[in-house]
């Protein structure tokens, strides 16, 4: 297991946080999550699909989110993700971490 380093780095953490946040407002399929992040950030943030799906599957195994195949409005099968209670707690934790991180970064930027 230790053969490949997969420690969640800052960017990875950010993607997790964004996904959790989006899902806290309601369940979504993968594309919906990506589109939501892009739309709410006015296209400043673009989600790499190469990272999104591994992240979704990983968070699913961690139990933060759960997935279910559902039919969309135009009768297509889509895998829809939903925040679990554990995911909710995770979101709160990561929000706090993020707040501390940005606060710290802001302080450094102000006085540097």
């Amino acid at each position: 297991m230790a053969l490949r380093r997969r420690k969640p780095d800052a960017l990875q953490g950010t993607l997790d946080l964004l996904v959790l946040k989006v899902l806290s407002r309601g369940s979504h399929h993968g594309y919906g999550i990506a589109a939501d992040i892009e739309a709410t950030s006015d296209d400043i943030l673009r989600v790499e699909e190469g990272s999104l799906y591994p992240a979704l599957h990983r968070m699913e195994h961690l139990g933060w989110i759960s997935a279910e195949w559902q039919l969309t409005a135009n009768n297509r099968r889509a895998r829809v993700y939903r925040l679990t209670r554990a995911g909710d707690r995770q979101l709160a934790e990561q929000l706090e971490k993020w707040a501390r991180l940005t606060k710290g970064v802001a302080k450094v930027l102000r006085f540097a």
Binding site: G30, A35, E49, G50, P54, H57, R58, R77, R79
Partner: protein, 882 residues
């Protein structure tokens, strides 16, 4: 659910979730783009571009979905299976070698487990149970214990939980019209409670059943007897069963799988001590402190060591010696761990099993060396593959793991095969051991989880031996030079050739050791078979005649015996015949008695004893035992005549110190007897024993209802048997004749341990030699193949065929010679471990060593023939041009 799916995905990476999700993703974005005004084709292209590297995303998702270790293992295994399939010859050879090695080990472990470590199924707390025998000051062997001593020990000991008295006995049970000799046991009343075995029907014995003279005819029968004779009848308790001619009430049925506490036999019934006289031809021993008959066990209290118990019980015996000097002078007690129990087959099996273990471990090493050789050959064939994989960034650990996986796969298959072999060989020991007194020995191997664990350990150990070392070697490739030079000539092969030669040397050495062992044992076996027991073995048949079971007392039996012997002597072809109470070379214990000799003063604290036999007047002439002084017994030496005895040469030497004993007196128990003759010493238990003092008393002065009948005749036993049975039945239809066999057969039954050891060493020695020859052949063939260029050069420079032949042959024989020298040196140091199995053979017997080395040399020569021929046929022009 998450980890379950993940686990499944690790093994079967067929999850299509990602593909469908991604497809949906791209289509959704395409629709978005179309809504924003792009053409459908453009939108599709743009959406796909945005998605990026599809395969990479899929792989990364699959990684998130699986456990890496498992999916790697799966990939390695798949690869290993493909590699083995592509090399079926290699796979077959390797699996065959390993199966033989592991199977032989599993079989021997199962014997050790079943016979030495867990000999008594269902018996609880075996680690607290120790075997007990008596000792006699001044002599080395063990004796039995007397019942009064046993009770006194029980009363005085504080460290022992339970004293479990036991004496093997037997009876004839009739099943339908067939009589069957079955073993049983006299056990103290606490027996079943102490060993934690509870009857499945009825009850165990009660304390009062320890006391009395045939006063409690009750028995607990075995599960097997219950099934076979009573067809599992649940109302069997309370019914009666004839045992030795007396009806016994069945009070209980032992649980299935309980065979008693005597290695080698499956007991069929148990009776309490109060029935002892019935099973000892009417002699009552429970109140006789001089009657030694108990072979017992002690179950120590938790936490007590054998040494503590030994000290306590020895002190009690010393006290008894002071209290009862007449009977107990010189008597002591000795404890043994169960696996060294001297009075059952465990003690006899220890050296045999020890040798078996040594032999199979050697065979396993040889097998591993062979497989290691094969792996090395293949590994260097794959050098290029390895080099390329390393150069494109595969981790070295990954390569080693890949090769280990292949090795493990091989040994796992071999372990399964080995277990199948062990299953077949489980009863091999019983098969090699002849029945004793018509009772088939039960010497089962036990294939339980412990044997399984050990075998797996052996399997993993073997894998490390034959796969890990080559893996390490071949994966240590100097990339720069390997890629610079052309394929196949990397630095590896030289190191590999060296290692392979070492492996062959090890194989040859081990083969020599095994062959020397086999040779010594064959020689010893021949010596044993040629050894003179002191009596005639050819043309003498022997059987038993049990009148006691048919209800005769000693007096009536005498009349019956007189009539029978007259009839037997009149059967055509019978030259002479007579009775004795014991037959030489049977398992039945030889009677012994305390003696005193006129004019002989024993050391102060010792009480001389000697073994004896009670015989008819023609016993000596029938068995061809020479009377060297005085006379044999006559019909006149009967109850009304003066008591007489005949002593053997070793007794005469020990107690009369060179003077002729004829005419002087010897006291046997309480009777003074006149010595009328000196007989030649004979062996009475096995061919290897040293003579011990022995004497004879006439049957008429010491009548016994159970006797052996010896007949001197040129007729084969099969022909005589029916006539004899007819004669016996015409006298009394209730008396069943025993098995009639020749004395030769009787004697050979005692050489079972040697026969097992010889069989095993010849079998495995031959196997080892074959494996070593294959190994040598492999190395020589590879050497020739690798040095074609060198050979071609030599030829081109004018070397002729004989030069080439010598050149190649020398290399092969050098390896064999080094191996043989090492093997001979090892054998020189270790053959004395064969111990008592060697009879009249020097463990460093020079001719045997020479023979073993010669055999190995011939095998080595044979292994070199084909490679040499190939070398000579090298075409220098073709090779050098290539």
């Amino acid at each position: 659910m998450g980890w379950m799916r993940r686990l499944r995905a690790s093994w079967w990476p067929t999850d299509k979730t990602f593909d469908e999700e991604a497809q949906f993703h791209i289509e959704a974005r395409t629709r978005d783009y179309v809504e924003r005004g792009l053409s459908p084709e453009h939108a599709r292209r743009e959406a796909e571009r945005r998605f990026g590297a599809f395969t990479l995303a899929r792989e990364r998702t699959a990684d998130a979905d699986s456990f890496r270790l498992i999916s790697d293992l799966r990939r390695d295994l798949g690869f290993a299976v493909r590699m083995l399939r592509r090399n079926p010859g290699f796979a077959f050879m390797a699996v065959l070698c390993l199966t033989i090695g592991i199977g032989a080990n599993a079989a021997v472990f199962s014997w050790i487990e079943g016979i030495l470590l867990r000999p008594y199924p269902l018996v609880v707390d075996q680690q607290r149970i120790y075997a007990v025998t008596g000792t006699e000051r001044g002599t080395a062997g063990n004796t039995d214990m007397s019942w009064p001593d046993w009770l006194d020990l029980q009363r005085s000991s504080g460290l022992v939980d339970a004293f479990i008295a036991e004496k093997i006995t037997g009876t004839t049970l009739s099943v339908g019209d067939r009589a069957e000799r079955v073993p049983g046991s006299i056990v103290s009343a606490n027996y079943f409670d102490a060993i934690g075995v509870h009857p499945i029907l009825g009850r165990a014995f009660r304390p009062e059943e320890n006391v009395g003279r045939n006063s409690h005819p009750v028995t607990v029968i075995s599960y097997q007897t219950w099934q076979n004779r009573y067809h599992g009848d649940p109302s069997v308790v309370g019914r009666t069963q004839m045992l030795n001619g007396l009806p016994h009430t069945i009070i209980g049925v032992a649980p299935e799988g309980f065979f008693g506490t005597f290695v080698g036999y499956a007991f069929q019934f148990w009776v309490p001590p109060s029935m002892q006289p019935q099973f000892n031809a009417g002699v009552y021993k429970l109140e006789d402190r001089s009657a030694q008959w108990i072979e017992g066990f002690v179950k120590l209290k938790p936490g007590v060591t054998m040494e503590q118990a030994q000290a306590e019980l020895s002190a009690v015996m010393a006290r008894l010696e002071a209290e009862y000097p007449e009977t107990n002078r010189g008597r002591g007690i000795r404890l043994f761990p169960l696996w060294r129990t001297p009075f059952n087959n465990a003690g006899a099996m220890v050296p045999t099993l020890g040798i078996a273990l040594g032999v199979v471990i050697a065979v396993l090493f040889i097998a591993c060396a062979n497989v290691g050789n094969l792996v090395l050959v293949r590994a260097f064939g794959r050098q290029q593959e390895m080099t390329i994989r390393l150069s494109i960034g595969a981790g070295r650990a990954r390569l080693v793991r890949q090769m280990l996986t292949e090795g493990l796969l091989l040994s796992a298959i071999a372990t399964v095969g080995g277990f199948a072999i062990a299953q077949v060989l489980r009863n091999g020991l019983a098969f090699l051991t002849p029945p004793r007194g018509g009772i088939v020995l039960r010497l089962p191997g036990a294939l339980d989880w412990r044997v399984f664990v050990v075998s797996w350990g052996v399997c993993v150990g073997a894998t490390v031996l034959f796969a890990f070392v080559p893996a390490l070697l071949t994966s240590r490739v100097d990339l720069a030079s390997a890629l610079r030079e052309h394929a196949g000539s990397v630095a590896g092969p030289r190191r590999a050739a060296w290692l392979r030669s070492v492996l062959v040397v090890v194989q040859v050495a081990l083969s020599v050791v095994l062959l020397v062992g086999a040779g010594l044992l064959i020689k010893s076996f021949q010596a044993i078979r040629a050894a003179d027991p002191g009596f005639r073995t050819t043309g003498v048949a022997t059987t038993s005649v049990d009148a006691f079971t048919a209800g005769y007392d000693a007096g009536r039996a005498r009349v019956f015996q007189d009539e029978l012997i007259d009839r037997v002597r009149q059967i055509g072809g019978v030259e002479s015949a007579d009775f004795s109470t014991t037959t030489p070379f049977t398992y039945a214990s030889v009677a012994s008695a305390t003696i005193a000799v006129d004019g002989y003063v024993p050391p102060k604290d010792q009480q001389p004893t000697a073994e004896y036999n009670t015989v008819g007047p023609d016993y000596f002439s029938t068995l061809g035992i020479a009377i060297v002084s005085g006379r044999a017994f006559t019909r006149g030496d009967d109850e009304s005549a003066a008591p007489v005895a005949i002593v053997d040469q070793s007794m005469a030497a020990q107690f009369w110190k060179g003077t002729d004993p004829v005419g002087s007196r010897v006291r046997v128990k309480n009777d003074w007897r006149t010595v009328v003759g000196v007989a030649r010493s004979i062996k009475s238990r096995n061919l290897m024993e040293r003579p011990t003092p022995f004497f004879y008393v006439p049957l008429r002065q010491n009548p016994a209802p159970v006797v052996s009948l010896h007949i001197r005749t040129p007729l084969p036993p099969a022909a005589l048997g029916q006539t004899l049975a007819r004669e016996i039945h015409s006298l009394d239809a209730n008396i069943a004749p025993g098995e009639l066999i020749t004395m030769r057969e009787q004697v050979e039954r005692t050489t079972a341990s040697q026969r097992i050891a010889v069989t095993m060493l010849i079998m495995f020695g031959g196997l080892a030699l074959g494996l070593a020859a294959v190994g040598l052949y492999g190395v020589m063939a590879a050497t020739v193949a690798q040095s074609t260029r060198q050979l071609a050069l030599r030829m081109a420079l004018g070397a002729d065929a004989s030069h080439i032949r010598r050149f190649v042959l020398l290399r092969g024989l050098a390896m064999a010679a080094i191996g043989a020298a090492i093997g001979a040196a090892i054998a020189f140091q270790t053959t004395r471990l064969l111990g008592y199995l060697l009879y009249q053979v020097n463990p460093r017997d020079f001719p045997t060593f020479v023979a073993a080395v010669t055999v190995v040399s011939i095998a080595a020569l044979a292994a070199c023939v084909a490679p040499v021929r190939r070398a000579v046929r090298t075409d220098p022009i073709e090779v050098l041009r290539a």
